[in-house]
């Protein structure tokens, strides 16, 4: 007998596959037929095969809090998420608009600060932002691009509207799972692809390399053939697999800080044939660790003198230093205003309604309604430093109330958005689990977004936290062209 969805509960959420019990959305029809023909044991077997493939290929991430065998695979859900073309085009337009505005904002904030002078963003928000980098003031980055690689998190509300939850403009990770999930799906469910027109994602590495070569620094000696490297904190970093994966898919060297040396403001890598000049660094470490001479002096991961070489126009970094100010959770509140201010347009993708505790009225509302709200600290990520009001205890509410009062600049509040759900394979049958979507945006000569992105699944029943560090998994994401 094939798997069926007779027992599937659609629930009080927006379900990606179903409009109501037994009423499938048209773009899932083919998939339903196919999975309906698949016996549960076969699906279980394919599911195991997929997990083994991930393990054998070492597609793993590291969990810091876990002292046991620290490498884990990201749980993989075999039922793909499908986004119809029209919906995807809407998302694409919205993301292009947003990253354009964010880049204009960064250029402005490190030069004239028009947006502050004209009263759109309060000066104190900029001044108190932890990721504002005075070193960047007045420095012209190559091609005016600050955020080259962006991974914005999107969620859908009860009506299925796409909302931006956050903009990750520093070192967004996860794109390797997009590509590997697709590869594994093709190996395990080859027949599914033959019947659906799924837009490919495999060109990401090439697009990324084109982008990195495009932003070669001013003083590059070989502008047609710049030397690009990927800088990683090393194999103990939780995203090391991805760093290595991306370097491989671009055919570039992956380096650690110790492989690089700065002489007379020029960056070189140490090779068996002597020193070789480096032009562009795709760095996968935070600003804080890049250069012990400028940022954290105790950083052993970085390269002394790198910032000076950067400012001298001898090397470029992607993303630029100081982009953290744009993905600060407080600054997030102002992004729709930036879109209006720089582009004169209304935002295509709205924010989740947000309260800032620095505003007295909002603070009062947050303190009174804390049990209904999600409270986030401005500079944490990965699901840490966060309170989900309805799921928290009275003590936790009080703890966050105090924290807000002590440091009002550092917190935001949002209503609980009941993320959309998608059927996910749990213990031999399909159950609804909450998901989000992280598309990857590349800003080079033009802005490109690989179709789909990473769909993360909160595999714990009822959980709204999709982060891999908190028990989240992922599924392949298809943008499907309709006939």
């Amino acid at each position: 007998m094939g798997l069926n969805f007779e027992q599937y509960e659609v629930g009080e959420f927006f379900d990606e596959m179903w409009t109501a019990p037994r009423k499938v959305r048209p773009h899932y029809q083919q998939l339903l037929t196919r999975f309906g023909e698949t016996p549960a044991e076969e699906l279980e077997r394919k599911y195991q095969l997929a997990s083994e493939t991930f393990l054998n290929q070492g597609i793993t991430f590291t969990v810091y809090s876990d002292n046991q065998g620290t490498e884990r695979i990201m749980p993989f859900d075999p039922l793909p998420r499908i986004i119809p073309t029209a919906e995807w085009e809407h998302i694409e337009r919205g993301l292009i608009q947003r990253i354009t505005a964010l880049n204009l904002f960064l250029k402005d904030i490190y030069h004239e600060q028009r947006i502050v002078k004209e009263g759109v963003v309060p000066e104190e928000v900029v001044k108190s932002a932890r990721h504002f980098r005075p070193e960047m003031v007045g420095y012209d980055v190559p091609k005016d691009v600050y955020i080259h690689i962006c991974g914005s998190d999107l969620i859908r509300d009860r009506d299925g509207r796409y909302l931006v939850l956050e903009d990750n403009g520093r070192c967004p990770s996860g794109v390797s799972y997009v590509l590997e999930n697709r590869e594994v799906m093709k190996r395990v469910f080859p027949k599914l692809f033959a019947r659906n027109k799924v837009r490919p994602v495999g060109h990401y590495g090439q697009e990324l390399l084109n982008l990195l070569r495009y932003v070669a620094p001013r003083n590059c000696r070989t502008p047609n053939e710049p030397t690009v490297v990927l800088l990683t904190p090393g194999i103990y970093n939780s995203a090391y697999f991805e760093h290595s994966f991306l370097a491989r898919s671009m055919g570039i060297e992956i380096v650690v800080g110790g492989d690089l040396i700065v002489k007379d403001d020029v960056v070189y890598m140490k090779t068996t044939k002597g020193l070789k000049r480096v032009d562009v660094i795709y760095r996968r470490m935070d600003d804080d660790f890049l250069d012990p001479k400028v940022f954290r002096a105790d950083s052993l991961l970085g390269v002394p003198g790198l910032v000076s070489a950067y400012r001298a126009g001898n090397v470029n970094l992607a993303n630029a230093i100081g982009t953290g100010i744009a993905d600060d959770k407080v600054m997030y509140y102002f992004v729709p205003k930036m879109v209006k201010f720089y582009l004169g347009e209304d935002p295509i993708l709205p924010n989740v309604p947000t309260y800032l505790s620095m505003f007295e009225k909002d603070r009062k509302y947050m303190l009174e309604n804390i049990s209904q709200l999600v409270i986030k600290s401005a500079n944490e990520s990965g699901g840490y430093g966060m309170l989900i009001g309805p799921h928290a205890t009275k003590e936790q509410h009080e703890q966050f109330r105090q924290a807000i009062l002590v440091d009002p600049r550092n917190y935001i509040g949002q209503p609980v958005v009941s993320l959309s759900r998608s059927p996910s394979f749990c213990d031999g049958s399909f159950e609804g689990r909450h998901i989000d979507l992280r598309p990857y945006i590349l800003y080079g000569e033009r802005i490109t977004i690989i179709p789909g992105g990473l769909t993360r699944v909160a595999l714990r029943k009822g959980s709204l936290v999709v982060n891999s560090s908190q028990g989240g998994g992922s599924k392949d994401t298809w943008v499907v062209d309709e006939d």
């Binding site: 290929q57 492989d259 068996t272």
Partner: protein
């Protein structure tokens, strides 16, 4: 290529080779002990102590185990995490090195190492070592061969490949000399005579530990003599696990990296390997026995080690000192 990557590949080659050689030594010793008279007093001690002496691991062993017998020595050389040269440690270190240079090596190479590592960690492998040790060690050897085959067929035969070869052949030459030296540590039981049954079994075991018995029989028609075994394992120029063959392959790889012609040299590593190569080509077994086989083999280990150090100075000098686990070597 990056100096760090070159160094990592060198160690990757060494660790895989070391894991393989250790597996082979245990495999052969298990077989030999099955043939021997176990009722004799201290039979197990005599059978297994030489393994520890050969691997120069006696000190570490004594910190972990009390008695020397088949179980403890096998466990120590196979799974003991405190033994940096155990098969487990070698495979784990090889995998760690491979992970660091995954963008350089092929995915197929990575998957071979990773699956060996995952297998060693698994229940079935522990069960196998207990129930059929010989099969277990053959599987390890087999996996290492697969790794080399995969490497030859999927990795660019460029500098990185050569650094892997350098590591592999330094380790192989070193290991062959240790296995031969193993015989030096084996004391014949008192009533046995040189050239007697036990003596021949032991010399055959030496050959089998180098996978050399079949090749040897094709080459020498007469009985197994110490003289001819030493000649075969040290000086044969066609047998891929002999010392001379290893040093020759090593010298070729080292010269390919710089592009310098063989029999010439452009750096210290090439000079040292070229010299060792020439000596192994022209030395006679009579001279070796005159020097004393143990002394001769000991000198070879020292010189292989010097070549490895010279390579590091030549190509990886930029580096910070390597982490302790990596600078661990048997030399």
């Amino acid at each position: 290529m990056l100096s760090r990557v070159a160094d990592t590949l060198y160690w990757l080659g060494r660790y895989i080779e070391r894991a393989e050689n250790n597996a082979r030594i245990l495999d052969v010793n298990l077989q030999v002990t099955l043939d021997s008279d176990e009722s004799a007093p201290d039979a197990e001690l005599y059978a297994w102590q030489p393994i520890l002496a050969t691997l120069e691991d006696v000190k570490v062993f004594k910190s972990v185990y009390e008695a020397i017998n088949g179980d403890t020595v096998c466990d120590f050389v196979t799974f003991e995490k405190n033994n940096p040269n155990s098969i487990w440690s070698c495979v784990a270190a090889a995998r760690e090195n491979a992970r660091t240079v995954r963008e350089y090596i092929s995915s197929e190479m990575w998957e071979r190492i990773n699956s060996l590592y995952l297998w060693l960690k698994s229940e079935p492998s522990r069960d196998l070592v207990g129930s059929a040790g010989i099969d277990f060690y053959r599987h390890v050897v087999d996996q290492c061969h697969q790794f080399h085959g995969t490497t030859d067929q999927t990795l660019m035969h460029a500098d990185g490949w050569d650094f892997l070869q350098v590591g592999k052949f330094i380790e192989r030459g070193d290991s062959a000399s240790r296995i031969l030296d193993l015989k030096y540590h084996i004391l014949l039981p008192q009533e046995e005579e040189v050239g007697g049954t036990v003596d021949i079994v032991q010399w055959q075991a030496v050959l089998r530990s180098c996978s050399a018995l079949e090749a040897y029989r094709k080459f020498y028609t007469g009985p197994v003599t110490p003289w001819s075994v030493a000649e075969f394992v040290i000086l044969n120029d066609r047998f891929p696990r002999s010392i001379r063959f290893s040093v020759d392959a090593l010298d070729t790889a080292i010269h390919r990296i710089s592009g310098c012609d063989r029999a010439h040299y452009s750096n210290e590593a090439e000079r040292l390997s070229g010299r060792l190569c020439a000596e192994l080509t022209y030395v006679t077994t009579a001279e070796i026995f005159r020097t004393g086989m143990h002394e001769y083999l000991d000198a070879i280990q020292t010189r292989l080690n010097e070549i490895g150090n010279a390579m590091h100075r030549q190509y990886c000098e930029w580096m910070e000192p390597a982490p302790v686990s990596q600078s661990q070597s048997q030399g």
